[in-house]
């Protein structure tokens, strides 16, 4: 283990995952994680992006030594997730998917409890959490159960950070949090990178993916794509159009009838469309024939969500 440990350290790898597989059920009939491999570099902000049930939480729980993998292996800080679970538990920070602090303890008590549990004090590592903690400090005598969603997540992040972990695992930290707090939360994560802390974060929100250094798009326990957000978007092969009309419902029903269409799906107030051949003006003509009005088309730059949908459909 020692040799692997040192080589991984030299390469500057925080988390290394090889063919990790996890099944549930008596007969292992539910395949939750299907031979997943990835690496997280030191100080990297790595995102696992995927819908509910994609296997994100299972990956987190295996990496935090809470679950045994069925096959495959992984190391965190060079430590094996099965054999060296004690060392991993000593060094990582983990924020589970749902709010996992003591609801009947106040903010200050929760923070103090977890700091002590991890063998440190709030004062010692206050610089790490200062930016976040000042935002909730004025409520520090309030019980955690009575906090808003955003404040809860900030507190949970403080508690996960207070012992200066080498790797931080955040399982859907922004689920159930308002958009403003979500944005703040991601800014905090960006700042944490400066502290040389590697962060593995999962989210079902596509718009958050671009905040990561690298992302893995996962679905059904498999990694569909793993790259920087820019590269993933850049690899989008088609020209993408946004189409709208006065009646979106009819539009979405009419689009499949157009023979040259390659892909189409609702995207906010528009429908995103790509063509096998032909162009937008042909489509406009077609839609007018079909009796739709107020038609508007424009080319759009694909984003992560388009890339993800593209991968799901192919």
């Amino acid at each position: 283990m020692a040799s692997l440990n040192s080589t991984e350290q030299q390469r500057g790898i925080s988390v290394s995952v090889q063919n990790l597989t996890k099944t549930y059920g008596k007969n292992k009939e539910v395949l939750a994680v299907d031979s997943v491999s990835f690496e997280v570099k030191k100080g990297e902000l790595f995102g696992l992006i995927g819908p509910d049930g994609a296997g994100k939480t299972s990956i987190f729980r295996m990496l935090t030594t809470l679950l045994f993998p069925d096959s495959g292996s992984a190391t965190v800080d060079g430590f094996d997730i099965v054999k060296d679970y004690r060392q991993i538990r000593n060094t990582v920070g983990y924020m589970p998917g749902r709010f996992s602090l003591y609801q009947d303890l106040t903010i200050a008590e929760n923070l103090h409890f977890f700091a002590t549990l991890f063998g440190t004090t709030v004062e010692e590592n206050y610089h790490l959490i200062k930016d976040i903690y000042v935002q909730i400090e004025k409520f520090k005598t309030r019980r955690a159960g009575k906090l808003s969603g955003g404040m809860k997540q900030k507190l949970a992040l403080c508690c996960a950070l207070i012992h200066k972990p080498t790797v931080l695992f955040l399982d859907e930290p922004t689920t159930g949090v308002d958009p403003v707090s979500r944005k703040e939360f991601w800014e905090m994560l960006k700042r944490l990178k400066e502290q040389e802390i590697s962060i593995v974060v999962s989210t079902p929100y596509m718009d958050e993916a671009t905040m990561c250094d690298r992302i893995a798009l996962i679905q059904g326990g498999k990694i569909l794509s793993l790259d920087t957000p820019d590269n993933i978007i850049g690899a989008y092969p088609d020209t993408l159009f946004a189409v709208r009309s006065n009646n979106m419902y009819d539009l979405l029903r009419t689009l499949p009838q157009y023979e040259n269409i390659k892909a189409h799906y609702a995207f906010g107030e528009f429908a995103h469309v790509s063509f096998k051949s032909g162009n937008a003006s042909d489509l406009e003509k077609f839609l007018k024939q079909k009796g739709l009005s107020g038609i508007e088309t424009k080319t759009v730059v694909p984003n992560i969500e388009d890339a993800f949908i593209k991968m799901l459909q192919s």
Binding site: R61, T64, T65, L66, L67, F68, R89, N90, V92, Y94, P96, G97, R98, F99, S100, L101, Y102, Q103, D104, L105, E109, H112, F113, F114, T116, L117, F118, G119, C159, A160
Partner: protein
């Protein structure tokens, strides 16, 4: 060590901030002692009884006088006919009727043999038997007085004495029972629930992914509930001495030490339950049905084990509360020392060791 202390303090926060738990924790022993002590007693006091004194002589008057003096009967003297007495029974006005025949004293002094008729309402057999026993004991005591005064040689009389509990006070039996029940319930249920709650709220995940050793989590969980159970033990003992007037005859130190042994046994059971139960409700249900029921049925506190079918008698041996109940009864009420209870203590200690070891072994350090 500092981690342990902070963890224990957190457990106390949980207990003291949850008003309902707090109420159950400290209210239950008090309520149970009072309930069993004053309401749920099988003593029969002031039963309405009709005395038909057809003799009205020295002996009958003396016996009736004795009956008045005891607090068992609420006596009404009335010269009623047999049918009128039946009428009273049917209306449920009386529990018993005591009838002295004419010439009662004459029969007694001349033939050395006299009869008293005692009629009881056996539709409630327990009360009937109890009332009958009271009446018999009053009559017997008169007979004994008589025997002392007149020197009749070679007179043999059976003497019944209720040792340890001469007044047949029912408190004596229920205090050890309540102790077993309260300690069982608090140790098992509180431990199980407090651990399952950590799982339910997901805090267990964070505790496991921390440098704090899982075994310390277990000890930090057990310690506060051991302390609270000690408080309850003291409450029950104080109440039994000062409210119920039941003295602790044996060694208090022995009683406390063995109670602690029983608490550790129950805490281990709670720990085991927390491994199985997925939610707080399930934990509570298992504790109630799986632990409290056997304690009530098999400890010998409510139903005598000797009267059970052999199979159930065998089963009763695996219930820790049975042994604890016996120990408390012997030490507290009979005032016996360790030499008389070492066998029970050894069995309880053995059970505790096994349960504690298994519970520690089974404690999951992962989520599966």
């Amino acid at each position: 060590m500092k981690q342990f202390f902070v963890f224990v303090r957190k457990e106390f926060y949980h207990v003291f901030r949850d008003k309902r738990t707090l109420f159950i924790l400290f209210g239950m022993p008090v309520v149970q002692v009072l309930l069993f002590g004053f309401a749920l007693t099988n003593e029969v006091k002031d039963s309405p009884v009709i005395v038909v004194d057809n003799a009205k002589d020295e002996a009958s008057q003396a016996i009736i006088g004795k009956m008045y003096a005891s607090h068992y009967f609420d006596i009404e003297k009335a010269p009623l006919s047999h049918n009128e007495i039946l009428e009273n029974f049917r209306d449920g006005k009386i529990k018993a009727a005591i009838i002295f025949p004419a010439n009662f004293n004459a029969d007694l002094s001349h033939t050395n043999k006299a009869q008293i008729q005692v009629i009881t309402d056996a539709s409630d057999p327990n009360t009937a038997t109890t009332v009958l026993n009271y009446a018999t004991s009053v009559i017997k005591s008169y007979q004994e007085e008589l025997a002392q005064n007149t020197r009749i040689p070679y007179r043999i009389s059976t003497e019944v004495r209720n040792i340890f509990n001469p007044q047949l006070k029912s408190e004596h039996n229920f205090v050890p029972g309540v102790m077993a029940m309260v300690l069982m319930l608090i140790c098992v249920m509180m431990t199980a629930i407090s651990i399952v709650r950590e799982k339910e709220f997901g805090t267990m995940e964070i505790l496991l992914v921390s440098p704090f050793k899982p075994i310390l989590v277990v000890f930090a969980k057990l310690f506060p509930y051991l302390t609270l159970s000690m408080v309850n033990l003291v409450t029950i003992l104080l109440m039994s001495v000062f409210v119920l007037g039941l003295p602790i005859k044996g060694s208090i130190l022995l009683l406390v030490l063995l109670s602690m042994l029983f608490m550790v046994c129950c805490l281990s059971l709670g720990l085991l339950i927390s491994n199985i139960a997925k939610s707080q409700q399930v934990a509570m249900l298992i504790s109630l049905v799986g632990m409290l029921m056997p304690t009530m049925i098999f400890s010998g506190f409510m139903f005598p084990i000797e009267n059970m079918p052999t199979l159930l008698q065998v089963i009763s041996n695996i219930v820790p509360s049975k042994w604890y109940y016996t120990i408390v009864k012997f030490v507290m009420i009979k005032g016996l020392g360790f030499s008389s209870i070492w066998k029970e203590a050894l069995i309880l200690a053995g059970m505790t060791c096994v349960l504690f070891f298994v519970a520690l072994k089974k404690f999951k350090i992962r989520l599966e």
